[in-house]
Symmetry: D2
Subunit: 360 residues, 4 copies
């Protein structure tokens, strides 16, 4: 236990923060040393902090709440000291992240699920196995801001699956344009207020505020080339329509891709299958065996059936076929687990990589 | 009553056939003279034919089953004579349609919801207000086949909304390509076996067999130009991904359109708003006031909230905005009622038009 | 129009208040003269008051929002004068009702959907056709409180269907005990916060705070005998388990009843069928033709299929059969529309009755 | 491996049979030696037998299909020899069970999920930890029928949770009557045809054919006393209303119990908590640590949140409270996993017990 890194989980009482706690017990590299949340929770035992006035324990993960966290005292995130931890995971709203993360980053590495710093020039948005070479920016960031630590956010959960599926195509064939329609799970909207039952039953909601812009910009940045301490965004256009469906977890995305070079369906499938082997060969604790899983079942991927494949850490791609409307077009459907690879577990995998590489 | 046209409804016991019966009571132009179905139902009173062995009356429409049809005897569709009716509505599976429709069409006009004849050169696929000039093909068909009547199918229910939304854009600006992802209602799959509850709850199914091909081909044919008794399909490419969602009725479609001529969002919206005024001016009994309804609510259209607008006969278009990935791109979301405008009521509106024009 | 009663709708922007507005256009006896809501909405046009910051018009009824109300100014309920109206409908939370209703009732009749006054000795809880003789209490109330008007609430929406089904049994056979398990629609929980999609999909929630007590107490009071200006609660015990299901509208209730006198299934059915004929003979505008509709389909009643029967104003009872566990036991399942008969339209029907009887 | 018992799984391709295969890999006592199904599947590899004509692998369990079963050949159940196995698990429809089980039972023990033999005098219906002393009947059955093996079915999945919750109350206080309303999961209806999506979305179905009778009779038999090779059914009345809800797995049941002796809520809770300790002390491989889990959260148990507690093998009881309508009344809500403890895993636990006791 002595050699595990001590981590703080900020925003520990919220849905995203709980996902960290669901995944951290028995982690071979990290141990939870601190829990922090808003002032309202500060000073309470964790289990009390998530118990509401009606007596319900609001723990929302499938995994049981570990005994080791139940009795931990929750600190006030705005007053938390980070000098005695090695790493901070933040899972708070963007406004809070904007305030808190720079304070922590002065001293320690911060891996964040929030969007607050995603669009800063000196901040990489990591997807494990996709753009880890962007870690070059960490030094740039530290130098520019005078921080001993740093901030590295993960992308919006809808971006994650899309970029993972695009990366092998982009590397092998180049991309001209991408059009994507998502059917997103309710858990992506959180719980306060989240999606109302009266709004989603027997229904779909065709708009998620700010989501499409995030997907479009983040995709270009993550697939961008880094050189001289600067990312040049990928030079293809992305267009998204993001909708909400009556699904608990797992974002489904129907993508149309115009490649630069012509490629057969089999060739694109092969590139996807082979993708990320160097990364998965690191056998990081939270890593899937395959970043992409190809399904040949014509009726798959389906969110309920495929979201939990490889612990929610693989992106399942199916219905890969020729698209006749775009030049060198291919189209496919993917399912990515928005609260696993797309959130806390994805952030943990980033941290595991950075630890391995000596950046943490 | 004397001057109403006598109609036969074939496949009257099925879901699609019931939709005809739901809409025909009190129709100012048509009265139901005959009901037909498979041999199994023949000779029974209608209400008995739809009552199962457990005693449930399997009537699936929101509208009450009209008293006037409850006691009507159901005929065997394969033996039904059409000499004493003026018009036949068919709502049977494609295989049955292939056999039955030519028999009826020898004598009488047949308006069909089945796909059996959609792809024949001499058969128009009508969408009311979109391509009624294709009625020129009726004479060609009669001559070629030696029929006194004719067969005119309506399109697949997923095609209907898409083509209605595209038509004003096509006429005003031309179209280079269309990419569409649908999230379709369960009623489109019928009831035997239809979509299983265990398959669709907390889930989406990303594939509907044969649906994408139908949408792609039918769209080109319906928007094609007719000249010299021949339709030349529209010269743009259509690519579809058709998925099934946990929605009762109403297909939602996210479309991306590359126009030939550049057009602003406001211009495309204007063309959609103005669309079809000549057709709606006919004030046909089943006609909506507007073929397209534009919503400015960013969270609309939603299938549950918008499917029943104008009796399920208008196509609601929302989220009309610029698309940056395609040349002269616009994108939008539409909702179209798959069992109203997309099925029986759409077929009735075709019949009303043809009657008005003296073709029936 | 001159002879219509002028009504004020208080809480007009909420879900329950909207239900009044959905039902009042074209009402032969009532016309809306005032709309009131909280201070936040005061001074706005109605359509603006229900439009949120994202631009969505939050109108939640299936019926279209009538043009006549869109532009009406909303008043502050706490300052509204009632001298120029004849009748007040209130649809606000219990706390607000406790404050507002006495102010209005000083001058005018108040028909309320709130629970604030339900349990006062001098306040009747009306269910149309069940206990209208309790109107004797109105005079008692006015005298005791020195009001020119009065307050008469309708019951909790779960009580309504149960009591309607019990009333003919109680009158004919007497009742020893009633046990009821409800599976209630989400609309009963309103929208703020209402039931979360994440909580109800693929799930049931077995508890609704305070609901069971309301059902138990209200049932006894409504079926109580009035004499000498005092209601003696019915002398049988009621036990309820109230659960929430993934249903939009329509409460389903499984009831077990121990009668005082033995009765066959056919006799109980007959009493239910005959029930309320004097009341329905009044042909009040919102009245169903039958207070109870018996279904013989073994798979009915179902909330989606039966909630809208007779405009949501009839209680559909099915599966009426012998219960072997209770003395003289019968059991059945009922569906009652919680936001129609169980809310605004039920309150309107009460008002129509009282108007007819000269009490308003 | 040499000392594991060889088992045959009959009906291996169906949903219930798959549940056996989901639970048997790595079982310390049993290994699958044979798979059998209908003639249609015979001779195929297992994975082919569950692959449909569209290419979908119809494996319906959350657990992955184990590699060890994928390639096993499926036998024709009607021709399968059992001489080389030690135990047969059957998961077929009642009609097939009636024919097949006696053939197998001539030679070997048959643990069945089917109802075919449940109501025979010499056949015990086992619920693990509840009535294992009914194993006395096995000898009676063998003698009477001249079998070397025997047939012991488990109960209907709705009976299981109810009886487990009743048993400690029955033993400690006696029971006068039980009234129960269930809200059952769709998986209980299987897949052919199962529950249609169009029937269950935004809905409930208040009737499940034959279910209520099964619950009523089986409860009495399972809680009956055995003496002299004969079960005397428990002498209290059970009345059930069984409904279907839009839930994947996990039956929810609201029970009302009239005890013989007065007992406080705390006393009943204590008896439930202490229940079954002798059985769980056996630490059988599929056994939960607690047959009953009491929840104090007023909003629990919920099927989605509680069905998988202890691997789906515990019955979660909540909302235990006084019932005022019955003499010595208590009421509560329970959730029991219908396809785990209520089906295959329950049958396995029975087998594990009988093996331990030397009956297999």
């Amino acid at each position: 236990m002595a050699d595990k890194l001590k981590v703080a989980v900020v925003g520990a009482t919220g849905v995203a923060g709980q996902q960290f706690l669901a995944s951290l017990p028995n982690h071979p590299k990290f141990e939870v040393a601190k829990l922090a949340a808003s002032e309202r929770s500060a000073g309470k035992k964790y289990v009390q902090a998530i118990t509401d006035e009606k007596g319900s324990v609001n723990w929302f993960c499938d995994e049981q709440l570990s005994e080791q966290y139940r009795g931990m005292l929750v600190e006030d995130a705005s007053k938390m000291k980070v000098n005695d931890v090695d790493l901070v995971f933040t899972a708070v709203e963007s406004d809070a992240a904007k305030q808190l993360e720079p304070i922590y980053a002065k001293e320690k590495p911060v891996i964040s699920t929030a969007s607050a710093f995603r669009y800063e020039d000196d901040v990489p948005i990591f997807i494990p196995g996709v753009n880890m070479e962007h870690d070059e920016l960490i030094g740039v960031q530290q130098k520019k801001r005078g921080w001993k630590g740093f901030v590295t956010p993960i992308p919006n959960c809808t971006t994650t699956g899309l970029v993972i599926a695009l990366k092998p195509l982009y590397d092998a064939f180049g991309i001209q344009r991408v059009l994507m329609t998502s059917m997103q799970a309710m858990s992506g909207a959180g719980r306060s207020p989240g999606v109302k039952g009266l709004d989603i039953l027997d229904n779909l909601i065709p708009f998620i505020p700010k989501e499409e812009e995030k997907v479009e910009i983040e995709t270009q940045k993550i697939l961008g080339k880094i050189a001289g301490g600067k990312i040049t965004p990928a030079d293809f256009r992305v267009s998204a329509t993001c909708t909400r469906a009556a699904v608990m977890d797992g974002h489904t995305e129907a993508a149309y891709v115009s490649l630069k070079k012509k490629a057969s369906v089999e060739e694109t499938k092969k590139k996807m299958r082979e993708f990320g082997k160097e990364f998965t060969a690191l056998k990081l604790p939270s890593s899937p065996k395959n970043l992409i899983t190809i399904t040949e079942d014509p009726f798959r991927p389906q969110p309920r059936l495929d979201r939990n494949a490889e612990g929610g850490m693989t992106t399942t791609v199916g219905r890969l076929r020729k698209d006749n409307a775009l030049e060198n077009g291919v189209k496919f459907v993917l399912v990515s687990h928005n609260t696993k690879m797309g959130a806390a577990k994805g952030a943990m995998l980033v941290a595991e990589y950075l630890e391995k590489k000596g950046k943490i």
